[in-house]
């Protein structure tokens, strides 16, 4: 089944905006959500900043982990793009599946169990069992499937920072093969002391500003959030009169096979992922009008990405508008690929590319167009490449394209 796969719903929550309208406004106006960390004390750490969604308070009256509550916000917004009552129909629910990515899922709920169960004192309490149930890696997708009584394929991709990009890829695959009629895909991640402490121990966090693709970049900043997109075959979407945000034209993934936490300095894995995405999309490299890069702001990640873009696009890489959005919302790990799919799609709809904040000086070896500090209009922008890379040596490349029919208009968002 060689059908176009389209995005017909989107929801997002990140530190720079809750909901796609606020999220886009922040991207357009250059407003970052990164600020001093408030959910736990950081006085003994070298860094104190993060992209926490401070406008969203965890509802303590609910048993759900904050990660799931963030997911629920994005999910509700994405589902609101479907006609009211659509998922009330059993047949529609049975043909709808869910694929989500997360790095640590309900770690805020699960972490207290760690030390207690290295040498357990006895049988677990009911409270501990409930906590562990939430903490299971697959629980996010299972929970959505149960809540909505979905009957389609259900999967969780646990692949660190490419988790949600990979879930979008896998979900699209289920549609192409006719195994589902609709897929909800994306990812979620909560800001946690566990992850923050880990990245801190790797000396990967910056203490002042995250400066992707800058000559003086020195580290990343962590964040939290969630994003969910609704994917359908174009024919199904048109048949029900859906508005289409964009087409997911192609997707690819590949491993570096070099090092568990350091990227391939030659960008081999990302280049292979892009090869696969373009092969599936059947479009030319010059069609790409903007690259929404992973751009964590670490020395090695950004150098790897530039090497991969140079390897893949050749000299044209220097002329392509490339930006990283991490300074806007922080690195949201398992959620970030999904959040960036939403950003890339909105960039196409608005014909506007958001900037790389905090960018002052290009690396001498890559004097490229990193869209420093100020976004810009790109009239006619129709194709965006979104890339992500992760611990484990994983890389993903997603190609998003302007919808040819029934396109959402920016003012209707």
């Amino acid at each position: 089944m060689d059908e176009k796969i389209v995005i017909t719903g989107m929801g997002v929550i990140a530190s720079n905006g809750i909901g796609k309208k606020a999220f886009w406004k922040a991207l357009e106006q250059g407003h970052s959500g990164v600020k001093e960390i408030s959910s736990f004390r950081t006085n003994g750490y070298e860094t104190h900043i993060g992209g926490e969604v401070t406008d969203f308070k965890t509802d303590a009256s609910k048993p759900d982990d904050r990660a799931f509550q963030l997911l629920d916000v994005a999910l509700s917004e994405a589902l609101a793009d479907l006609p009211a009552g659509l998922l009330a129909e059993k047949d529609e629910r049975l043909r709808t599946g869910v694929a989500l990515g997360t790095c640590q899922g309900a770690i805020l709920t699960g972490a207290p169990l760690h030390r207690r169960y290295l040498k357990p004192a006895g049988e677990g309490t009911a409270e501990e069992r409930a906590a562990f149930q939430q903490y299971l890696p697959g629980q996010g997708a299972h929970r959505v499937a149960h809540q909505l009584q979905l009957g389609g394929p259900t999967a969780t991709l646990g692949m660190a920072c490419v988790s949600s990009a990979m879930s979008v890829l896998w979900a699209a695959d289920q549609l192409r093969k006719g195994r589902a009629g609709r897929m909800l895909a994306g990812g979620f991640e909560a800001f946690s002391p566990f992850i923050f402490t880990g990245f801190h121990s790797l000396l990967a966090l910056v203490s002042d500003y995250c400066r992707p693709f800058d000559a003086n970049r020195s580290g990343t900043v962590l964040g939290e959030g969630a994003a969910v997109v609704v994917l359908e075959r174009e024919s199904d979407a048109l048949a029900r009169g859906a508005r289409i945000y964009a087409e997911l034209k192609g997707a690819g993934y590949a491993g570096d096979a070099i090092h568990l936490t350091a990227p391939d300095r030659e960008g081999g894995g990302l280049a292979r992922a892009m090869d696969m995405a373009f092969a599936q999309a059947g479009i030319a490299k010059q069609d790409v009008g903007y690259i929404n890069a992973h751009g964590t702001g670490t020395v090695f990640n950004d150098a790897m990405e530039c090497a991969a873009f140079q390897r893949f696009f050749g000299e044209a890489a220097a002329r392509l508008p490339i930006s990283s959005l991490k300074p806007f919302f922080g690195h949201c790990l398992g959620a970030v690929g999904g959040i960036e799919v939403v950003a890339s799609t909105l960039a196409i709809l608005h014909e506007f590319v958001p900037p790389t904040l905090n960018h002052q000086l290009c690396p001498p070896e890559y004097p490229w167009d990193f869209i420093p500090n100020q976004g810009r209009a790109v009239p006619g922008l129709h194709t965006v490449l979104s890339t992500n890379s992760a611990f484990g040596g994983n890389n993903t490349a997603l190609l998003l394209r302007r919808a040819e029919r029934s396109q959402v208009t920016p003012d209707s968002l």
Partner: protein, 351 residues
Amino acid sequence: MKERVAITGLGIISPLGVGREAFSAALEQGALGFKDELLAPEIVRAVGRVGELVPTSVRLQSSKASQIDVISRYAVESCGQALKDARLELTEEQRDRTGVLLGTAYGCLESNMLFDQYQRAEDGRPTGVSPLYFKSTVSNAAAGWVSILLKLRGVNATFTSGVLAGAQAVAHGADLIADGITDLVLTGGADRTLPLNMLLETPEGVPSSEGACALALESMSRAVSRGATVYGRLRGTFRMSLPDGELATLTVEALKALGTRPNQLTTLVVPETDPVKLEALKASVHARTGLELQLWPLKQQLGECRAAWSVLAVAAVCLRFAAAPENSRGVVYVLDTEPGLEGVVLELSRT
């Protein structure tokens, strides 16, 4: 054109034995892979253990082996065995088209626990933190290590969907081979059993177990042309929503969807262990299809090894195929379920 999918290599890490021969012998002898263990004061449970395995199928300095978390060692050893078993000398170009797809229900749970064992951050000071443990606190560490140590640079993915994660990885791998997207995949599942999951999740009475299994998948045409040993053919995969976990319904629907001729289906490898429920399943399938099927309740020997189970079941079937006449045409279904959610069938035949 869709390619037929051949299984040309097996890698097995199980409480019944490590490696094809040991596993096969233990299966045939009806051995049990678990024994009683003291989990906590006054709590004794049957547990299937592999323990802290050191990989031997890949060249690995002992200093490096100690940096690798245990579940990754299982994955590395099972994939290393499967690649060796497939008798392939990969060129650099072929390494770019060889993928690693793994599934794990618990993922990096053990590394998360170890990372947290000394670190204290509640007072705002990160002390006792080990970056060595932190790098393994991602569920894709195992697939990452496999790709690094076996130098496999193709597609790479990790499913963490629960019990079905291993079957999902295998199904995804089969898709990639059938569609000609990649030439070879090492695919399977791995899981550890820890006091945390035994005491907080596993129902009492079901032995909690651990292990890993990897399959080398390639197209039948490629396997035949290079003279590979074909253990079996992965004919198809099927999944359905299965909130009630009804294995008879799963079987009947799979028969329809996969187009298996009823008289070809001989055996169901099932996750059920309760003799009464097994009898009821057999009777229900017979009533609905007229088929007298053999049931193979493999968990009775292996225990509950989550995402590794269905892949170990595929390996067990392949080893039985190897002992059967080459022209045998019987089809076997490996059934697995995520409780309360869905069911998966992996359809296998000798050729």
